[in-house]
Structures are given as structure tokens and as C-alpha cells.
Subunit: 327 residues, 4 copies
């Protein structure tokens, strides 16, 4: 396996081949960040008494940093952000910034339900070192979250954010798909650089890539289960919970896709589907953290109301890894 | 129409007839609050610059207090609680406590995503004067919100709450129904006194009433659209957005149900369905607030990302009231 | 319990009180059938080799006819009509006609996917003795079944049908709710006399009753689980799978509702919810037929691909009856 | 463009590269058909009086046969099979068999609700010349269509079918996904050769390919919108409504995928997404037939209750083609 630095330049060279989306971003104007690559959405470690364990957080970061990730997503859905106070959210981002290599990107989840609070959180995230803000769709009033409302929300956030904004659609958690027409409109905003789409509908991903092809706009797959298909359709990377435990393999899948080794990519992708499903919607963050314990990271407990896996669930989780040769 | 005080004693007498659920709550032990009756879920007024307008809040409360409501729900879904800071949430409850008559109940929404923060918010709500806490289901990780997780969550909150707890299930916002088996288990907790069910499935409401019949447990309908049917099935009241604008009529419907005047109740219920749908899922809080402006209350703007109604929406909203004879 | 004949006249007298929908239907013009009352949707008995067992069908009918039903629904969803050939469908209706008392109504399910075939089936159903046709929404192309398409379909069928037409919406099977606006339009057709709504949303049922109040249009609840609530909202009866096994009790519930004995009605309704759920969506027709065997009727096997209950399912089914005092 | 014969041998050579699924099928035992390739699901032309227009059917077939399709699907969902009588279904298959080149495959939809009738229809389809039977999941009783029930159904059909069986899952029409575990079990049946999956979830398609990799089992994408992604994940072809109008382009996409020209494939795939959506779930068969009229085939009317497009719909349909450069 290539080391991170070498791989970084390899990625840039390779990705120019397949994707239209990788450019030399002008530094003085317009959009400024190339977000292509793989990111683990970092979990938030807790002590036995449910305090944030910043030491374990740093340890995990140090281990993850040996892998050729483009960067880290902090406080995506896997970061248990809805359970953190505002100051915890900022403190976690700050500590990750310090623990991670300087040449990687830090994408910080800054979405809140209200537009105003999201703006404030985004500004604060920038102040503690985030390179870009990943903003989940507000969702409690999903019945009124029309394209117009969401365009208004994201435009306001992007207008006022000192760092680039990445849209984030995750219907399994929010019950809401950011509509394609809203994405297309928002892609024209100079401070909105891309999108993380966790919905798993690659036809939709392809359509978004197609309809934003004249914009500087990049799409990241939101899960390792449809990562290869997303590359095929024009996505430029992924934010993958599974990369917290099988990070080398997810980066290997990236490399196979970018170098056009589709047969090997397919074989690897196949073996990642069940483990990926297991640590995402099947067993959620409790499953992901349990698996992290198995793979040499610190997983530990979740905050309540998330519960530990039952023994039967843990067994099924293990089977999803062993049956594919990963344990 | 009867005045509030007279009506209060009438209600207690009447409801003994129909419902099994109204008891003299022992003051020294066990469950202590009879929540039977009608509640408007109070909206949070904002100024043109999106600050909480406490003056308008008090004005609305004074007007609403002339009606024979059992009390007020503060920071239900209609209170835009996800858009308020913690201190705003507490301040709003505190001001409502001061503005409302002492003999009414104040049910305060204290639900948050994490169990720990929900406990803290519940304790704080009690300190600022709430009579009971209405706790919405956590929902961001709905895929892991099994009955076991929800039972754990509510048990912890009820154990530590100084005031009685009311379960709150509102699938249109949360994408999650609190399962019947979880409700039945939780109904046995000495500090859980009832449930607000906004799902609209009266078969489910009937089943919950039936399976908790040996507990001190009361069910409130979460919307005026199925209020009469809920009374028929054994609910003891309702938390009705529509009561913010047609409060006298909703209380009249209560009286007709409790006194067994089902034919008149049916006629009135029929005329409330479309207006109710309009101010809830069809046009949401923007629709409710617009209607409040029409009916002599202060509605005003919502916080973003909620948007004002379009002229066409406003016209359709008005039609839902005029076609039923309310405007 | 009253005998059928006595009960029939009682029903007519009583229902005039509560419901606006029971009229003396003019025989010479306009709508001609009063469908108010309770109907079991008759199951189709099969032999061990999956032939229709007409003898058992007649035996069941004779037993069911001792109860004060308004009539029988043949080839509703519980009749396994999608598994029958056209000639079997007609033969079953013909045999039921012969076996049942003359003063009861025979509502025959005649819905097919195409409009033309539905018309032909409806005409044939009339020829073999159906009093009215119950026409389920076509559903395979549900994505294109707009209100306009459904209005066109039902209008054509009603235009050409020699017998009155009853609309039938059963989203659990069809994935499709007949929209309220379509129902309102269709209620004006002189040959469309009512609707069976199995969706369980009594707010919707109330709205339909309200918006068709100026038409000769009657609504039947499609399940015993929300029968009492439907009566409260203005429905005039029900087509209840549960009536195949607890027919006397369902008719008793009707009587309690029509005579305004709402407290007793509530108690009875409560005890019917779990058994009703068990023989409908929880265990389907296999559950209903198994229960019929327990209650002295012939249930027997279903046609494949419907499978027999597992022992664990059968145990759970039994529990739903025993725990409510019915076994 | 290559002619059909040349292309056929090219395909076989090429597909050996990427896919594990193309083999020399032994003629004396086991599975006998290689279904890899592209198929248009043929529409059923009707006259102005809604009779099947066999002449137009043949004309369409002759035109389509100039394209390098692997074969034709007759009476998939786009064939309006639910609107045809049994004899029409067989007659259509028979006429297609006569009109099409001998070296193409004829996959005939033979699914019905009951297992027994499906068996009979499958046998009849074989008699009139079908090479394989494509069997849609029964769905009216979807609540009881467990894996066990579906395994029983398909096993019975495959046991008794003289021709190979292709599973067919189309949740947009049936409201039912054939579960992965059922597919894996059924893939071991010697007479079940593959599956058409129209659900659009390519993670699921990848998982099915992965878990059936030791069987002779081939997966076809059920729509052109996710065709390229399906090839990437291991599917061997597609049944694509869009191939009725942009057949050359869909075959070109196949060729680009099989020859590893992923960049060009991506560009082409992108331009096909909106047209594909337009002729499938957005505007359904009426949209597909209208487009056929534009592209030199006979589209004509649908049988009722399917309605013609409104002028506004027709305009939107046209835009989906023109904006992508196809009109």
C-alpha cells in the first residue's frame, strides 16, 4: 500500500482521468476546496460515564491518519452530534484539528434545525479549524421543507460562512431527500462546493453530477455500500462509516475505481456490502463502535438512548465480517 | 358558553361518566395529575427580527385564558422548540407560567435527542413552573429506537423528573411511532401519567387505552381532526393546534363528547377537519400563525428555515376555513 | 340477541337517529340501495386439493345467516378473488345468492385491473344475482392512478353497470388510497351509492361523509378495528373480516353505536381490536381461516402462494382471542 | 454501429472479460440459457377501439430487430399484461415469436397472483414459443408474502416449468421487494436462471450478485437509469423501457460497459437518466407510448384506466428528451 503523501498525489493525477470534477481550484476567487477522496466520519468516544473521551479521540485519529484518507468528517451522523452540547461539538472539532495531519481536510458537521443557529455553528466551526462545513438538512418540520425553504436555508448559511459548504442529505436519519432541483440551484452558489448524498440512489447521484456539470460541484457518496457505483456515475469520493474499521480497504476501492480496475473493484466492493450495511443501518453506531473495538480502535459506549448490541446482534454483526473474510 | 371555572368542575363531573381514566389523584403518593381536557399547543411569537416576542406571548395567553382549556402545552411541535436555545425554551415556559391562570395546567415539552439532556431539560422545566413534562420521542437515530431503547429513555427521564411525564408520539415530525408495547410497559411507571398521540390512528389509541386500563394512564389526542373519535375510544382530551384559533369550538366539541351529544358532536367535528388539516400538516406552523393573525391573536413570522405561505397557499388556507363557515 | 328480521327493522329505525345517510330509497329513480349495516366478507373455502368447496361455502352461509347481518360481501380481499378464475368468481357469487336469505344484500367484488374487464365482470355479477358491485381500485399502475384516471374508471363502470356500485379503497392491498376529491366527485354519480374504506384513517372517513353530505352516498368501515369510530364520524356500517368469526359481537357493536350506548360500545370495541388485527393484517386470510375453524365454521386452506400459519403464529393468533375473552 | 449478428459474438467475447456470469451453458443438464444482454420490454399496441393491434406489434418488432438486442421481453409491466385476457397474453407472445429473429431470446412474463395459475400460464407461454418465463412476484397479499411464501411459489413454478424461470422484482408496481435471502435460496434451483430487478438499489444488486456467485445465476437491471451502475456491480444486462425508443443508445451503453470504456459510458448514462425516468415512473406507459410515436414506432393509446398525457405532461416529457439532446 502506498503511504498517504504518495497516494495523495497519485489520487490527483488519477482522478483527472475519470472525473470532470477535479480541478486546480483557483486560490484567489470562486470555490477553493477540492474535496475528492475518502473520509471516515469520525465517531465520538465516550467514557464509561458518558463524558467525551478526548484522549481516545486523539488515539483513534493518530491511527486513522496512517491511512491515505483525504480527510476526516467530524460530526456527521456517526459522530452522535445530536447528543453533544454546542461546546462539546466545537471542542471535538478543535481536538481533531490538532490531532490530524495538516494536509488533510477537516469537514465539520454544523447543521442545526434553525437557519440562524446553523450559521452561528458554521462560523464557530471555522474558528476552531474546520476546512469546510457539512450541513445536514433541517428535518423536524420536514413537511414544510420544500425546495424553496431548503434553498433559502443553505443560501443563507453559505452566504455567511467563512468556509466552503457541503450539502448533506441523509434520508435514513432525516426522513428527507434534498430535492435534485434544490441541489442544482444551490450548486451555483460560489461557497457551496459539493454534496454528501447518503440516500443510496445512484441514479439520483448520476443525475446530480450531470445537471451540475457546468458548476464547480463535487458529489461524495455517503456510504461504502454504493461507493463503486457512485464513482462510476461521477462521484469523486465518499464519506464512509466503514472506513473507521476497514479504512485501507475503502481507500483501495477508491484507487481501483480511479485507475479503472473495475473487475478488481467489483470483487472488493462485493465483499464490503454486508459489513457496510452492518455498521450503518442494520446495527447503527453501536455496531460501528463494537466493530472498532475489534479492529484496534476505541469504540466504547454510545450515549443514551442508543443501546449496546444484544449478544445475538453482536453475533450477527461478527458474521457479516467473517463471512466476507474480514475477521 | 360556560366560563372557565364553571366548566372545569363540569368537566370533572362529566368525564367521570364516560371515561375510566378520571380519578381523584392521591396527593401523597403515586400519580398526581389529571390531564383530562383540551390544550392549545402555544406558538412562540417572534418579532420581525426573529427575536422571541414575550409581550405578544403574554397577550396571546391572556386571550386564550378566557376559554375553558384545561391548560397549555408549551413547546410542543407547534412551539418551534427545535429553533429555540435552551435558555429561550426555559424563558418561554417561565413567562407562560406567569401569564396563565394558576388553576390551569402547564405541560412543557422537554424532549431532546439525548437521554441525559432530556433529563436536565425536564428538571429545568419543573423549576420554571411546568406542571408536567411532555417528552417527544428522540428520533434522529430512529433506526435504533427499538422499544427497549425507548423504554430505557423514558424510564430514566421519569425516574429523575420532579414532575409527571407525558409520553409524546408525533410520527409526522419524528418518523417514529412509539410502539404500543413500549407504551404499555411505560404506563406502569409511577411518574408517567399519560400520552399525547398525534399519529391519527384511533385503532391504536383504542388499543392503548384498552391495554393500559389497569394503570393510571391517560391518553390525549394530538390533533383536533380525530378528537371526537379519540373520545369515543377512551381518550380524555386533546392537544390541538386548531385550539389556538378555534378554541371555543374545540372546547365545545369536548363538551358534546363528554355529555354524550354525539350527533351534534359529529356535525361540529366534520366542520373542523379541513381547518385542522390546514393548520397542521398541510400548511404547518406558517399556516397556523397566519390564521392566528386572522382570528385576533398574534401569529407573526416563523424562524427560518420555515417560510411564509405563498399567496396561493394563503388563499387555500382561507378557503379551508370559509368553506366550513369559520371565516 | 334479536333475530335477523326484528333486528333489520330496528336498525332502520335506529339509524335514522344518528346518521344522515339512511333514507327511504325511491324505487323508481336515482339511487336504489341502502347499504347500511354489517357484512362479513365471505371467505372462499377450498378442498385439500385447492378446488373451491361449494358445499362448505353453503354451510358457512347458512350459519352466518342466523346473525343479523345486512348482507354478505363476496370477493372482497378476504375472498381470495385474485386467485379465482373468472368463472369461479361468478360461480361463487351465484352459489352464495342461492344459499343466503333473500332479504339480505349481496355485494360482489367485481374489480379488475382494466376498465373494460371490470365492466364485463360487473355485468356478469349482476346476472348471477349480485345486488351491488364493490369495485376495488385498479392498482398495478398506481403511479398513474391519478384522481382523473380513477374518476374515469369508476364513471365508466357505473355508467354501464346494471346494479349500484360501491367504491372500495384498501391501501394495505393496493398501495393506493382513493383520493378524497375523487370520492367526492364520484359520489354525485347516480349509480354510485357508497364506499368501503379499509384504510383506517377515520379523519378521512369523517371528511368524506362531510363532503358528500348532500349526496346519497354511504360509507362503510372496512374493518372492525375502527368500526365504532367510523360510526361516530358518520359511517353507516362495516365490512368486517372479524364478522366471519365474531359476527354476533360485531353486530352487537353496531347496535350499541346506533342506540347511542357509547360506553358499552367502547368496552366492546376495545376487546375486538386485537382479534381484528390478528385476522387482518397480522395473519391475513390464513389467520382468518384458522380462526373460522376454531369458531365452528369451515376455514380450511388458502390457495398458494398463501401459506399456512406456523405453530408460533397460530399460538399468537390464539392469544389475541383468549386475552380478550373470546376463546 | 455493428449489426446484430456481429454484435452478438462480440458481446459474448467481451462479457467474458468483466462478468463471471457468462458461461457456455451445458445443453444436456442444469441451466440452459444465457440471458446476458439488453431487452426492450415490448409494449402492446392497441387500436383506437382498444383491440390488440397485432399488425402494429409486428411492425414494431421488425424495427426493433435491427438493433443488437439480446431479445425481447413480452408482458413485462410495460406490456400492460394486467389488462390482457389470458388468450390475448398468449396470442401476443405467439405473434412476437413469429415476428422476431430466431436467434434472439423471448422472455415472456407469466406471473399471476396464484401459484397454480402462474404454473399454467408458464406452461402455455412455453408452448407458444417463449424461451424463458419472467415471473413477477405475486403482490395483492403482500403482507403475507414472506420469504418462505415466495420461495414456495417460485419453487413450484420452476419445478413445473418446461422453460427456465427468471425472477422479477418491481416494487414500484408491486409494493414488494423480493427479499435477498429468498433470491439466494432460489438461485440454487436448476431451472431458475436469473433475476430482473427493477428496484434501482444497486447495493442490493451487488449483494445479490455476490451471494449467488457460486450459482449459475444472472442479474438484469430493470431500468436504463441504473444500467451502468448495475454493470459495474456485476449485472449482465438490462430490461429497459427506454430501449423501445433509444434502443441503439442503450445497446451502445452496454458495449461501453462491457469494453471497459467507463468514461464514455458515464457520459452516455448521464444523458439517459432523465429520458428514462420520463418513460417509466414519471409518465408511465402513456409517456413511453407517446415517445414511441415520436421515434418512429407505433405507440398509440393505452387501455383504460391508463389515461393519455395532458398537454403539460407531454411538454415536460419532450423537454426531458430535448434537454439531453435526443430530440
Amino acid at each position: 500500500m502506498l503511504g498517504p503523501q504518495v497516494w495523495s498525489s497519485v489520487r490527483q493525477g488519477l482522478s483527472r482521468g475519470l472525473s470532470r470534477n477535479v480541478r486546480g481550484w483557483a486560490s484567489g476567487e470562486g470555490k477553493k476546496v477540492d474535496i475528492a477522496g475518502i473520509y471516515p466520519p469520525v465517531t465520538t468516544p465516550f467514557t464509561a460515564t458518558a463524558e467525551v473521551d478526548y484522549g481516545k479521540l486523539e488515539e483513534n485519529l493518530h491511527k486513522l491518519s496512517t491511512l491515505p484518507f483525504r480527510g476526516f468528517v467530524v460530526q456527521g451522523s456517526n459522530g452522535e452530534f445530536p447528543f453533544l452540547t454546542s461546546s462539546e461539538r466545537l471542542q471535538v472539532v478543535s481536538r481533531v484539528r490538532q490531532a490530524m495531519p495538516k494536509n488533510r481536510l477537516l469537514l465539520a458537521g454544523s447543521g442545526c434545525e434553525s437557519t440562524q443557529v446553523t450559521v452561528e455553528m458554521t462560523v464557530s466551526m471555522a474558528q476552531v479549524g474546520a476546512d469546510a462545513a457539512m450541513v445536514v438538512t433541517p428535518c423536524y418540520y420536514r413537511g414544510r421543507m420544500s425546495s424553496a425553504a431548503l434553498i433559502h436555508h443553505y443560501t443563507k448559511v453559505a452566504d455567511l460562512s467563512p468556509i466552503p459548504v457541503v450539502l448533506y442529505s441523509v434520508p435514513a436519519n432525516t426522513g428527507l431527500d434534498l430535492p435534485v432541483d434544490a441541489v442544482v440551484t444551490l450548486s451555483q452558489h460560489p461557497n457551496i462546493v459539493g454534496m454528501k448524498d447518503s440516500g443510496g440512489d445512484v441514479t439520483r447521484i448520476g443525475l446530480i453530477v450531470h445537471k451540475t456539470r457546468k458548476q464547480d460541484f463535487q458529489v461524495l457518496a455517503g456510504s461504502a455500500g454504493f461507493l463503486m457505483a457512485s464513482y462510476a456515475l461521477g462521484a469523486v469520493g465518499g464519506v464512509c462509516a466503514l472506513a473507521n474499521v476497514l479504512g485501507a480497504q475503502v481507500c483501495q476501492l477508491e484507487r481501483l475505481c480511479l485507475t479503472g480496475q473495475w473487475e478488481d473493484a467489483q470483487k472488493l466492493q462485493h465483499r464490503l456490502i454486508e459489513p457496510n450495511t452492518a455498521v450503518t443501518w442494520r446495527f447503527g453506531i453501536p455496531g460501528l463502535k463494537k466493530t472498532m473495538d475489534w479492529f484496534g480502535y476505541y469504540g466504547g459506549p454510545c450515549r443514551a438512548p442508543l443501546q449496546e448490541l444484544s449478544p445475538a446482534e453482536e453475533e450477527a454483526l461478527r458474521m457479516d465480517f467473517t463471512s466476507n473474510g474480514w475477521l
